[in-house]
Subunit: 404 residues, 2 copies
Amino acid sequence: MHLTEGGVCAAKGFLANGIHCGIRKNRTKRDLSLIFSEVPAACAAVYTTNLVKGAPLTVTKEHLSNGRAQAVICNSGNANTCNANGIEIAEGMAEITAKALSISPEDVVVASTGVIGEPMSLEPVASGITELKEGLSVHGCDAAAEGIMTTDTVKKEVAVEFELDGKVCRLGGIAKGSGMIHPNMATMLVFITTDAAITAPMLRKALSGDIQNTFNMVSVDGDTSTNDMVVLLANGMAGNPAIDSEGEAFDTFMKALNTVNIQLCRLIAGDGEGATKMLECQVNGAASETDAKKVAKSVICSSLLKAAMFGADANWGRVLCAIGYSGVPMDVNRIDVAFSSPAGRISVCENGAGVPFSEEKAKKILSEKEITILVHLQEGDASATAWGCDLTYDYVKINGDYRT
Amino acid sequence: MHLTEGGVCAAKGFLANGIHCGIRKNRTKRDLSLIFSEVPAACAAVYTTNLVKGAPLTVTKEHLSNGRAQAVICNSGNANTCNANGIEIAEGMAEITAKALSISPEDVVVASTGVIGEPMSLEPVASGITELKEGLSVHGCDAAAEGIMTTDTVKKEVAVEFELDGKVCRLGGIAKGSGMIHPNMATMLVFITTDAAITAPMLRKALSGDIQNTFNMVSVDGDTSTNDMVVLLANGMAGNPAIDSEGEAFDTFMKALNTVNIQLCRLIAGDGEGATKMLECQVNGAASETDAKKVAKSVICSSLLKAAMFGADANWGRVLCAIGYSGVPMDVNRIDVAFSSPAGRISVCENGAGVPFSEEKAKKILSEKEITILVHLQEGDASATAWGCDLTYDYVKINGDYRT
């Protein structure tokens, strides 16, 4: 297995495009994206657990009840959420897209991201669909990745190549996600495509299993979005014997999916709203995986620790504090904490108490772009990793006046 | 019942003082406070639920096992937490204080607040205790309130006067709390004194009941401190017949306690680290009080909403978003949301969808120092209120480099 280019267009038979259709006022920013599979694909999805759900999610859920899809239409600039006519608009987007592609509206996944509670017009989508469709290409991933961005500052795309029963397969995704991101639910917008052949039930199994260790372990700000989903399409064009049960091929597929998803998680965390650095918390020595996940998330979600990391301040007391309120029972007098980054590794707490360390070395380590917080609980053998980012002036700036 | 002056010295027989003893480097800031009752007092306390607990809490819990105390010693600048010799230091503080006051160390409440994991020396306490004791006075509340402050910008003291069986009683408190504050546990440092006569069991009942609706409904940053506690001393010097059961006198006492605690909550929330405004979320029409509390807390804890309030941006979608992930089951299509402040009231969402409103008027309302977010769920008759603050550049600044 190795990384490759092309994102959602890496897999055979997938085309993509993104254009500016006018939902956003800023004309230099694409706001409508389309992903299209030349043949119908098995499709699985997971959705936000927020009770307040965007209308596109309701429509998509309905469309995916048969486990099949052929296209994804997604706009940024308006979440189409908390609007009286939201369902109508989301269905309208599916119909406009289906008509242009000569497919059934039920085979269209609809997604929207942006401001909540602002009425949305179908007009820009209707007038832009021809340009959007005609520009579909195997080189269109960049444009599609840009079209789904909101406050994101970088495009997020990853792809891998792997083999199933002697056939070369590819799996790649694009993601949008910057604020309103919190673990333990499907967060962000992520679209993944693969040409591997796999049945819809096994595709669902793969996706719902993998997100527990990937997207559900990312937090930017503790706020769970109303509109987020992860969608995975598999069109079978690689020609491998379809995966219809667990086994070696399924394991390989899971590995490919996990590789792509972890990379997308790191990209999302590192591009969290206002973030200057990506934080990773690795917890080892937990009594159970559930415990390890709770501790890792608790650390990554602490506003105080996030602010300390922004300031490159080795304030490990805040790591202990966050572990202490994680809800996991443990002997706090056994906790070890260390910080690491490309600049080195430094131990700051052993057996629950501080150890002398060089502030200068700590500052150097914490001034890097990617910081790992290493926690050992000495309670058992279970591990988990969570991803987040620092809390900065720019997070406040971005969210202090998002609508204007 | 009416508000009165004097904070923890409002009640008969209570003296207080605060000095700079040298725990903090900044010589202009008091860092050691003492509250003393002329006679032994019934005493109740609640403690943080964080598993990582400051050593002073362990020592205080032990001292209060007999429901009695006569003095409170509290330092700022060092939390005496996660230090190998923490218990020894906390016990040392109690002994030094007890000796100076000629009382038993078991009658001393010990509290510390400040940096976690930095070894603490008893020397400044030992050398300052004489000055601290000799300055004890009925006018010493201000000095004591200052001595417990960390990143607080204002002193927090409140007192009320009320009658029990014809006797004039007083109850007043001081509080410290700016960061690491999160509901559903005893947070912050709060010391309350009263001259009302009440048995230790009824005092515990009053305190543990009241904090559910007061201190447990405050959040500044979602981080639960390792060192916080609320301590309530009642010395009986008002001369009322001791309250030893529920009834009219107990109700009056509860009312006094609640009045003081709500004011302290508002002071703590409004002085949250970096805060420019106090946020109050009033939830009505919930199916149960538990539901109402969960929703109110979820709204007050949302980083996105807190940042929007900083920007005076009426981004009500974030209120709905936070309600949606609160974990409370409800029909989201019935939610009403309004904002109010001394500048007026504006309805922004009815039955789960936005309603047209004047952005200009909303801006004016949200530019005040105290904002109320009004939520009606239309699910039942239960209500709750939670308090918090906005998220600002200064929160990041204060916490980006707290230790230096």
